[in-house]
C-alpha cells in the first residue's frame, strides 16, 4: 500500500487524537483569539478527514465539500471573527464560569462520557469508534462553551464547534453518502452566524457591552 493509502486509512482514527487535544485546550483557553485558532485547527482536521473519506470511497463531491469546509471554516470564519473582534473593541478575555482545572476535568468527563455512549452503538454498526466519540465530544464541548462563557463571541464559537461535531458525526456514520445533508446543515449554521454577527453589533450599540449575563437585567 502506498503512503497515501496508509495516511488516508490512519486519518480517521489517529486524527481523533488531535481532535481530543483541541477539545481539552478549548475548554481551558483563556483568550478568545486562542479559541478561534483552535477552532480553525479543528476545522482543518475535519477537512482532512473529508478528503480522506473522499479518497477511500472515490467520491468526487467529497473533494468539493472538503475544499468548501477548508475555505469557509478554516480561513473565512476565523478571519471574520478577528475582524469582528477588532471592530467591536471588546475585551479579549474569555470569562469562563469555571476555573481552568475544573474546565479541564469537565472536558475529560465529557470525553469519557462520549466514549461510553459510543461504545454500545459502535459495535453494532461498522463505524470507527474513535471518530464518532470525537464527534459526540465536540458537540458536548460546544454546548459547554455556550453554557460557561459569558461573551457573545464565545456563544457563536460554541455553536460553530457544535456544528463541527454534527458534521463529523454525519461524515463518519454515512461515509459521505449523501453529502447534500452536510451542505444543508452547513449553510444553516452559516446563516445563523451571519445573523448573530449582525445582532452583536446592534446589541453592542444599544447596551455598550456584549456581556450575556447582563441580559438578566431585562426581567420584568
Amino acid at each position: 500500500m502506498g503512503l497515501v493509502e496508509i495516511a488516508a486509512g490512519k486519518v480517521l482514527s489517529s486524527f481523533s487524537a488531535f481532535l481530543f487535544l483541541t477539545i481539552l485546550l478549548l475548554a481551558v483557553a483563556r483568550r478568545i483569539s486562542t479559541c478561534v485558532l483552535l477552532f480553525s485547527l479543528q476545522s482543518a482536521i475535519i477537512a482532512a478527514e473529508v478528503f480522506a473519506v473522499g479518497f477511500q470511497e472515490r467520491l468526487a463531491e467529497a473533494y468539493v465539500v472538503g475544499a468548501l469546509v477548508f475555505l469557509i471554516k478554516v480561513v473565512a470564519i476565523p478571519y471574520a471573527f478577528f475582524r469582528l473582534m477588532e471592530r467591536l473593541k471588546t475585551v479579549r478575555e474569555v470569562k469562563a464560569a469555571t476555573t481552568p482545572t475544573q474546565s479541564a476535568f469537565i472536558a475529560v468527563a465529557m470525553i469519557f462520557l462520549s466514549y461510553a455512549a459510543v461504545h454500545s452503538y459502535g459495535q453494532s454498526v461498522h463505524v470507527p469508534a474513535d471518530a464518532l466519540a470525537a464527534a459526540v465530544a465536540l458537540i458536548l464541548t460546544g454546548a459547554f462553551l455556550m453554557v460557561s462563557c459569558r461573551k457573545a463571541l464565545m456563544q457563536m464559537l460554541g455553536l460553530l464547534v457544535m456544528e463541527n461535531g454534527i458534521f463529523l458525526a454525519a461524515l463518519v456514520t454515512t461515509f459521505g453518502m449523501p453529502l447534500v445533508i452536510e451542505i444543508g446543515v452547513f449553510f444553516d449554521v452559516l446563516m445563523g452566524l451571519l445573523l448573530m454577527g449582525i445582532f452583536a453589533f446592534r446589541i453592542r450599540d444599544t447596551f455598550e457591552h456584549l456581556d450575556v449575563s447582563r441580559l438578566r437585567r431585562l426581567r420584568g
Partner: protein, 313 residues
Amino acid sequence: MRLALNVFQWLLLILAAPLAHGIIAQAKARLQRRRGASIWRPYADIAKLFRKEDLVPPSASWVFRVTPLVLFGAMASAAAFVPVVQGSALLASRGDFFLFVYLLALGRFFLSLGAMDGGCAFGGMGASREALISSLAEAPLLLGLVAVAILASHADIAGMVGWTLQQNFFKISAVHILAFLSLGMAVLAETGRMPVDNPTTHLELTMIHEGMVLEYSGPSLALVEWASAIKLHAMLALLIALFAPWGMAPHVSAAPLLVALLVYFVKVGALMALLAVIESSVAKLRMYLVPGFIGVASAMSALAVIFATLVKR
C-alpha cells in the same frame, strides 16, 4: 559487560548534567540575540564553589548541613533508573518509576527542610510555594507514567522503553501525545522552569527554588546546583527514553552503542532547545495560576490513562 554499560549510563547522566544547564542557558541567550556564556560555564561554577567557604546561619542545625548531601544522593540514585543508550539501567526493577518519583520527592523534602532551617523569611517562602506546587505536580507525573506503563504492559522503565522500541514511529496514539504533554508540563513544574518558576531570577518575591537555596554557599551550593541539574537531565532523559527511544542499541556491542550515544546527544540537544524556546516565549505564571496549569496537566494525564485502558480492552 552489561553492568559496565549501566554504570557508564549512570555516570553520563550525573557528569553531563551541568552541561544541560549550560546548553539551555546558551540557547536562551541566542534566542535573545546575545552571545551568552560558554556551555561549560556551570562546570567552572561548580569548581569555583568547591573552593569557597561554607557559610552557615547561626540558627541552623545539622539538617541544614546534611540537606545538600541527601539531595545530591537522592538525585544521583534516581538517575540510576533511566536508560540512555540501551534498554537497561543500573537499578532497574519492577515498578521502579514510582521509586524514581519518590526519590525525587525525598530530595525535595530535605531541600524544603533545609530552607526552613535558615531562620528567615525567604526560605519559608520558597518552601511554602514549593510545597504547594510539588504536592499538586506529583499526580500528573505519576499518572502520565502509569498511562505509558499500561500501554506497554510493563511496570519498569526498561520494559516500557523496550516495548516502545518495537513500535512503529507512525503509530502515534492519543495516549502518547497526551502523556507526553502532561509529563512535559509536570517536568516543567518539578524542575522549576518557566512558566512555573524562573530559574534565573533573583528577585525575592518571585523565587521558589532559588528562595530555598538562598542560604547555601560554597561546596553546599555546588552540590545543590549540581543536584538540580541532575534532576533536569534525568527527567529529560526519561522523556526521551519513554517517547522517542529509537536509536538505542538493541544489544551490547561497540558500534551500535556509539551510534546510540550520538543519537542520544542529538535528541537531548533538541529537547533542550525546545525547552529554551518555551522558556523564552512564555512569561512566568502568577503563583495562584500555577495550580490551574498543573490541573490541566492532571486532566490530560487522567485522560491518557483512560485512553490507555480503553485501548487495552
